[in-house]
């Protein structure tokens, strides 16, 4: 609760090649910090908001988190519309511009490699959803209600078999869709499906994938439309999101390639 002068720091959104800086839109909120051939997209933030202690509280404030996560993404989206950008994870904060420059110098190789990896590309998200009831209905008609004990057991067994069949079919559809899309992409990654609490949908997410594609390339989007048409009657739907900055394709850690 002190009334001392507000201290500031620099929030780093991501990094572009210095040669791309002239093409960036003039955003008065954004400050470019350059070092060698790299430039960081930053913004001055108040430590009242982004200082160590308050930040911790703010991160646990759902509204603050949503607002700021979206703001982070919006800045990156605007940059990604005109240049290759290596997105940083939310909450990378340096005290001064000199610290940002030091960070750029220190991480030059990783950042340059990241920029190289995503050159001319954007990320698309693809999700495959299953409406379990419709998938089930499409796969096999419902058994008539059992009358005798034996018929009941038989029906239970059939039910289990059907559940296994549905599962196998879902897995096959998800894998098949991913493989088809991967062929059209520069790279792909499969993320964990998001739970219903987060999606707020009644369908189950079977596939949560991201693809790296050349900017402006519509082939993934078109293939998604085709897949969606092919699978719709079976109770599946396929959706594409994006283009996103290439969040899924810039990290060097744990890379197996």
């Amino acid at each position: 609760m002190s009334a001392s002068a507000t201290q500031t720091a620099l929030y780093v959104y991501g990094v572009v090649a210095l040669r791309d800086v002239p093409s960036l839109e003039q955003d008065p909120a954004v400050e470019i910090v350059q070092e060698d051939a790299l430039a960081a997209i930053t913004r001055v933030v108040s430590l009242d908001e982004y200082g160590e202690d308050t930040l911790r509280e703010n991160l646990n404030d759902r509204e603050w988190l949503e607002e700021n996560a979206r703001a982070h993404e919006d800045v990156l989206l605007a940059v990604a519309a005109v240049a290759d950008v290596v997105p940083f994870r939310f909450g990378t904060i340096c005290r001064t511009a000199d610290d940002v420059r030091a960070l750029l110098a220190e991480q030059r190789d990783a950042l340059t490699a990241g920029l190289e990896r995503i050159r001319g590309c954007v990320e698309l998200g693809v999700k495959l959803w299953a409406d379990r009831d419709r998938v089930e209905a499409a796969l096999a008609p419902q058994e008539p209600a059992a009358e005798s004990g034996r018929a009941y057991l038989e029906a239970r067994r059939n039910e289990q078999r059907r559940a296994a069949d549905i599962q196998a079919m879902c897995n096959e559809v998800a894998r098949g869709a991913y493989d088809r899309l991967l062929r059209l992409a520069v790279a792909g990654v499969v993320n964990r499906p998001q739970p219903r609490e987060l999606t707020g949908r009644t369908e189950d997410m079977l596939l949560n994938a991201a693809f790296l594609v050349t900017a402006g390339d519509r082939s993934i989007a078109e293939e998604v439309e085709r897949l969606d048409r092919e699978l719709r009657d079976l109770g599946f739907s396929v959706e594409v999101t994006g283009p996103w900055p290439a969040h899924n394709f810039v990290a060097a850690e744990g890379e197996a390639e």
Binding site: V12, S23, V189
Partner: protein, 103 residues
Amino acid sequence: MSSRELATTGGGGPAQLADVLERVLDKGIVIAGDIQINLLDIELLTVKLRLLVASADKAREMGIDWWEGDPFLSRGAKNDGIEGRLRKLEEAAGLPTSKGDEE
């Protein structure tokens, strides 16, 4: 560089919060700044856990595990990294860890 023609895809509305959080909190390059945000230390965990732990478990519960046995896909999914991070998250949250809980 001239302006890119970005493919216009998706519903056109604002991106789903889950998609934004997944990317912004869990992806992207991680470089330690001067102010340490340790996402693992805080209750943002609830968000991360729901994104990662809950989804993985739920997916398995529902039998969605087709990526797990496939070395190509699980490599793509950075399985090892995720397992390691999950364990840390679970420990931090005081949950039983997922390693070795499958009988």
